[in-house]
Symmetry: C2
Subunit: 241 residues, 2 copies
Amino acid sequence: MARAEVVVIGAEVLTGKVTDANGPFLCAELRALGAELRRLTVVPDELEAIAETVRAASARVDFVITTGGVGPTLDDLTFEAVAAAFGVGRRRDARLVDVLRAFFGDAVVEAHLRMADLPEGAELLFSDGLRFPVVKVRNVYVMPGSPGILRKKWIALRERFREAPFVLRRVFVTLEEGLLAPTLEAVRDAEPDVTLGSYPVFDDPAYAVQVTLEAKDAAAVERATRRLLERLDPRTVVRVA
Amino acid sequence: MARAEVVVIGAEVLTGKVTDANGPFLCAELRALGAELRRLTVVPDELEAIAETVRAASARVDFVITTGGVGPTLDDLTFEAVAAAFGVGRRRDARLVDVLRAFFGDAVVEAHLRMADLPEGAELLFSDGLRFPVVKVRNVYVMPGSPGILRKKWIALRERFREAPFVLRRVFVTLEEGLLAPTLEAVRDAEPDVTLGSYPVFDDPAYAVQVTLEAKDAAAVERATRRLLERLDPRTVVRVA
């Protein structure tokens, strides 16, 4: 199972100017593709904070997705930071310069061309329908911050991440969480490979807790669900989904 | 200026089951109070991941806010992880046991009382109108994950974080980001204490980029805004807010 991290680069998120849409989108997408997202970090547009976070993430997991900081202005530091994270320099990529020149035409300025100053060893992932390639540096996929553009690029990229899906079962109960706790522990001990979650709600008269049971092994999830249901008073079970 | 980090503890966010509401809420609140949020990290319900993240965050900034993982079930590991982060043990807090017994009455079970197993050195912050106190361990405020309860607790707590506010000016321009880049660099060089942000939009015919100018020093923000406007062709400026 591939393990991933997401690094959202954007002071606008940390300062509350914008609610991040890319993080939630990537959380749902990665899950649907069967990848395990281990961590999501939001950092400001600062060279050192980005570099340190990318370096640590890259070492911890199979692949990292960054969003933001790839434009032509002074708060766009992602490529410089990724280069610093890996201790490499940057060089102007001739193919990307061609793409930028073709896009901006006569209006092209030096600030645009600086967007082609990529970390050494960067790969360009071209795809039909994408105006600009995705830049990959080692196991780091550098994506833009603009949600509409990120989605387009992600769609071009996503199939390379697909693997066996997670199987999820959800059991809604009226039992209060404290009373449910020993039952969940017994199920966890019997099926340690199934991840259990317990989500109380305090404003829904229909149920008190949603229990989630999840793994890639469908048979294990079914066994765990059966064990859970056997241990519960049926009158406390509202719904199994 | 107080520097803060937020640690969101919750596999449900990383697995895309739930879109985190607490992070965006705290981002906006901390900004409004004048605190500088340096980083927001979402980690799974795992002892080691939480402990490592809390330890690093606590060392980097003035205060840390965690959300989630404080209930009575097996995915509630925050207190255990905060204790591990600081290399201290846990002991059952008698005052919190009293609060829990008063709340649950005859229905109280051992799983409830385990919620009172706090890291050594924990402080309880009681407040009028709060059923349960906020638990503080060193510079870490441990908050619940349920958004409604978090908001209530936050409101009881927030005035302790208030300091001089940030001053924000926003300039909307029709100029494309690459053409704007040298102007922003000149303003940054002249007013290095003002944080500049540049946010392009690609689907709004009214403007191309929102420039933000921000600092606690209102006079510096006004100077920087004036410098920016002096350097721009007035026909490219849509609005100053």
